[in-house]
């Protein structure tokens, strides 16, 4: 059924602009994550520098979304789904900004790794990149499409990423004893894995906010997804 138009067309435009800003921010954050990955695996400092430079744009968008959301609430006093959508947009932008910060963290660590001899163990972190990237992109898709079924899968999948991270850290701790010369490089990889694990947390939060916006179900801090 077609959603009837709001009696204030300005409100509809403001809501659409807010949503577009969030989607723009999401695509910038996803691009930063991809660039950080290329920087790490291709040992290319330029990709890393791109991620660090782009973060400014993401930060500016976060502020813009905050201001626009505040403006909408002040001017139009939204209720029901409108109110939930504005709040979800503002909360999602916070998570996107943090995810972009994790990408910056990865890029900074990658720049340090590039200065050292290549570590063959770097291949072990690739599955974590795959999981974190998929989680993040699915969270954005769930937000964008209001896809509750997809959003519901994120909580469990984030637990899987946490487990991957734990297992990766244990493996590298063992390797540190065997190859003490590579400890510095291994530590950088452990930090990168932790950044990826946090991206999973942010993806999960975006999914939770999406579920709240669409279904008004608060599944935060619950053990079993509803």
């Amino acid at each position: 059924m077609e959603t009837p138009r709001h009696i204030l067309t300005n409100f509809e435009t403001a809501l659409e602009n807010l949503r577009n800003d969030v989607l723009m921010m999401a695509s910038l954050a996803a691009r930063s994550l991809d660039c950080a990955r290329k920087g790490l695996f291709e040992r290319d400092e330029d990709w890393c520098n791109t991620v660090i430079a782009d973060d400014e744009e993401v930060d500016a968008l976060e502020i813009q979304i905050d201001n626009a959301g505040m403006d909408i609430m002040l001017r139009y006093h939204p209720f029901a789904s409108d109110l939930r959508n504005v709040i979800a947009a503002m909360k999602t932008s916070v998570n996107l900004e943090r995810a972009a910060d994790q990408a910056v963290g990865i890029a900074r660590r990658a720049r340090k790794l590039i200065l050292q001899p290549a570590l063959p163990e770097i291949a072990r972190i690739e599955p974590l990149f795959d999981t974190a990237t998929n989680l993040f992109k699915d969270a954005i898709k769930a937000f964008s499409d209001g896809d509750i079924e997809l959003a519901r899968t994120l909580k469990l999948r984030d637990k899987g990423l946490d487990e991957q991270n734990r297992s990766f850290a244990e493996t590298l701790a063992d390797l540190m004893q065997k190859n003490p010369d590579s400890i510095r490089g291994y530590l950088e990889l452990i930090f990168i894995a932790r950044f990826l694990e946090r991206i999973g947390d942010q993806a999960k939060s975006i999914a939770e906010d999406t579920i709240y916006a669409v279904e008004v179900k608060d599944i935060r801090h619950t053990s079993i997804p509803n």
């Binding site: 059924m1 959603t3 009837p4 138009r5 709001h6 009696i7 204030l8 067309t9 409100f11 139009y76 006093h77 939204p78 209720f79 029901a80 789904s81 409108d82 109110l83 939930r84 008004v216």
Partner: protein, 274 residues
């Protein structure tokens, strides 16, 4: 250019009524109530339980029947020719249409505050004691006590205590409305009906009246008709949404304004039809 006003969603009208009132007894019980102005039916089978000492807001677009229902609660509509009703309204266990109930005594139990303040061209004092004088009470000590109690109840005492014998018409708009509230509560009614009580007031006077409404609910069961959504969210505990003479949804106010059960309620409160 898109239409500014969208048509209401075309779907069969359903009703969602949440009667959970956290242990509070239902004070007003409206049962299958329909109301007609001549041939025109204004209300259709309304069933609604209003809990005691809470604020219940009636919202809905113009012509939805909310004021008609409010005015039925103290039988104000009886004054109109050609009206008729079916169903019943029970207040505190007794039908207001019971042939043994006098309309005047009902209106003593059910006070009303109107959209436009309507003080009499008399002193502040005489405005407040008017309902008592009408019912034959002229004892000065009783009247004095009533004036102080009612004006304090209406949060007006401190502003007018030194000029009680000045004209009620000399007050500001907000003060006049609070004077009318003082007059409405002078007879200690059980129920206070308010029909858009703040629509003619500035924001500061509105805030004072809204604060007053929240305080008055300690003592009275309040039903308020408002077009102002923010006012309904600020003042009321429960909200009833009406459309085309039918009750669409009745629930706790936070639920209605954050997650209404009916799409028609959602469309109305989010401004998707007017």
């Amino acid at each position: 250019m898109p239409p500014v006003l969208s048509k209401p969603t075309e779907q069969p009208m359903e009703t969602t009524v949440n009667t959970t009132t956290e242990g509070r007894p239902d004070f007003i019980s409206i049962r299958d109530f329909s109301f007609f102005y001549g041939k025109k039916q204004a209300l259709f089978d309304i069933s609604l339980d209003i809990p005691e000492r809470q604020v219940t807001a009636f919202i809905g677009p113009s012509g939805c029947g909310k004021s008609t229902l409010l005015r039925n609660l103290n039988r104000m509509n009886d004054l109109i020719d050609g009206i008729r009703h079916s169903g019943d309204i029970v207040v505190n266990g007794r039908s207001i249409y019971d042939p043994h109930i006098e309309v005047i005594s009902l209106r003593k139990r059910v006070g009303m505050v109107f959209q436009k303040s309507n003080p009499f061209p008399k002193s502040i004092y005489e405005n407040v004691v008017y309902p008592l004088r009408v019912s034959g009470q002229n004892k000065k000590s009783v009247l004095d006590e009533t004036v102080e109690r009612s004006l304090q109840g209406a949060a007006l005492w401190d502003e007018v205590k030194d000029r009680l014998h000045e004209s009620g018409l000399s007050l500001s708009g907000g003060q006049m409305q609070r004077l009318c509230i003082a007059r409405a509560i002078a007879n200690r009614p059980e129920i206070l009906l308010m029909d858009e009580p703040c629509s003619a007031l500035d924001p500061i006077a509105t805030v004072k009246v809204e604060e007053l409404i929240r305080e008055l609910k300690q003592e009275f069961t309040i039903v308020i008709v408002t077009h102002n959504m923010q006012q309904a969210t600020r003042c009321s505990d429960r909200t009833a949404f009406f459309y085309l003479g039918k009750l669409v949804e009745f629930d706790e106010t936070p639920k209605i304004f954050s997650n209404p059960a009916q799409k028609q309620t959602e469309d109305y409160i989010t401004g998707r039809f007017g």
